[in-house]
Amino acid sequence: MQIYLPIAEMPISVLLILAMSAAVGFISGMFGIGGGFLMTPLLIFLGIPPAVAVATVTAQIAASSMTGALTYWRRRQLDLKLGGVLVAGGLIGTALGVLAFNAIRRAGQLDALIMLSYLGLFVAIGGMMLFESLKAMLIARAGTPVRLERAGQHPAWLKLPWRVRFYRSKLYASVWPILGFAALVGFIGAVLGIGGGFIMVPALLYLFRVPTAVVVGTSLFQILTTMTAATLFHAASNQSVDIVLAILLIIGGVVGAQFGTRAARNLKGESFRLLLALLLLAVGMRFASEAVIKPDEVFSITVQGAR
């Protein structure tokens, strides 16, 4: 069944879009990431103009992170206080990132920068998590239980002034490093055009030692706020949000996310981190192969505007 998209100006298969968005929604709900780095390339591959794909996916991420965040909130696995600090930092970073994005685009090397940063981020974060989670699994198999959240063993940089207790996250830390980190994620996200969930989740896990379940809920909350703002921003500034495509993506995405949050519940912390590591590495490898293997078609067309 085909339906015509009024803003993308092309017809699309309804079932294909529903299936794709359900799959990405599942991953989103399971890992607490937005999934934009998976959905956007898929839509562009189907022939949807990149500007429309990027803008419309923000609406889908807002919806699937809303459903995920609400579910974690009911289970008391969402730290609103920590989430608030992350949102504040993220907003500062996003504003700076948009400025940097425009400067890099003027220099004309945006494609290469995006590709290399993706590659570096995915391989570094994925590799680190893979190593750590495998180690944790081996230790767990040997019989000694490991706990990531070691109360009272916070590193020195969390002991800066303005310390606050985040009860749900079992964290007693200075607000400054958290703000700074959220700003960095917001900056990278704005430059790469992604929500940044896949950077935020490992950071909360490893740098701030927040329990896995709370990490996912809190990350989803932060994604929810930034993506809602991004939807408004895209609609107002470049009018490229396609509401028909958004509805299809949202229906598939929220259903997938519901099953994802449920699947995550039956998953051990180590297995969760191993799976996320494998996902990031796989995406990183895809970017790498794209950059290294000789492409079939060396030319590409970018539409800069209608006249």
């Binding site: 339906i3 100006e9 807002a62 809303m66 609609a235 107002a236 030319f299 539409v303």
Partner: protein, 259 residues
């Protein structure tokens, strides 16, 4: 069947027009089966018939060359950049690029026989027949620039993959020695806007007559309203989309609630 009846009706009208004004020097009459392509929610592309007739009387006695018809369709203009990847150490990165300030979003060139049969390469260039000759400036200096040619050919190749650029030799059929028809196949991805159609009568690589007409591709009903609201009420449109996303997200937790 309906479209065939419409084509016949238009053919009859064109014939009538031709018969009613035999005294004029005009040798070519052409028309389209429709001047408006409407996009609704089930739109998957469209087909438009081009047809016309050639007045035999206007022809100079003694000219042995047969008539040729060139149909060119040019869609709304776009600003495009064509980029080329090249090898830098380990990586394939975008390197050279060429900007096309007003490239047609859709371009089709149809002839009744191959360009080679109609004349030599210079004739083809002068008549601007074929995709390459339409996209390149007519001066021979520009035609000799191999770098530009590479990018124009890449543009044609990429656009042709989406059926947005079409070159159909023998895409025009003479039904009788004076009646001809052709058809424009619009893919669903062809953008909305005004499309110019040029029909040119050629004999012995000399242009005898030329007629220009056009059709427009427009969205109707729900699609048109959505596009209008998105453009003119963009903040409201964004708010509605965002609120809808949040409501859908909340609804899913209610529907799937088990714990």
């Amino acid at each position: 069947m309906a479209s065939w009846a419409r084509i016949m009706a238009c053919l009859a009208a064109a014939l009538g027009f031709w018969l009613s004004e035999p005294a004029r020097a005009q040798e070519l009459v052409a028309s389209l089966s429709t001047h408006r392509v409407l996009i609704g929610s089930n739109y998957t592309g469209a087909q438009i018939a081009v047809f016309g007739s050639v007045e035999r009387e206007g022809r100079t006695v003694g000219r042995a060359d047969p008539y040729d018809i060139i149909v060119t369709v040019i869609g709304p203009r776009q600003q495009l950049v064509v980029r080329e990847k090249s090898h830098h150490g380990l990586l394939w990165l975008n390197d050279a690029q060429r900007k096309f300030a007003d490239a047609p979003s859709f371009l089709a060139s149809m002839t009744n026989r191959t360009v080679g049969e109609m004349g030599n390469a210079d004739d083809a260039r002068r008549l601007q027949v074929g995709l390459r000759n339409r996209l390149l400036p007519p001066s021979s200096v520009a035609q000799a620039d191999p770098e530009l040619l590479r990018f124009v050919d890449a543009l044609i190749r990429l656009k042709a993959q989406d059926k947005l650029y079409q070159e159909i030799e023998r895409g025009v059929t003479f039904l009788t020695p004076s009646l001809f028809r052709s058809s424009i196949v619009l893919p669903a991805t062809a953008p909305t806007g005004n499309y110019e159609v040029f029909v040119e009568l050629v004999s012995g690589a000399v242009s005898l007559a030329r007629q220009q007409t056009s059709f427009e591709v427009v969205q109707i009903g729900f699609e048109q309203q959505v596009a209008w609201v998105a453009r003119n009420w963009s903040m409201t449109y964004g708010l509605v989309t965002a609120i809808m996303a949040l409501i859908f997200g909340w609804l899913a937790t209610v529907i799937f609630r088990r714990d």
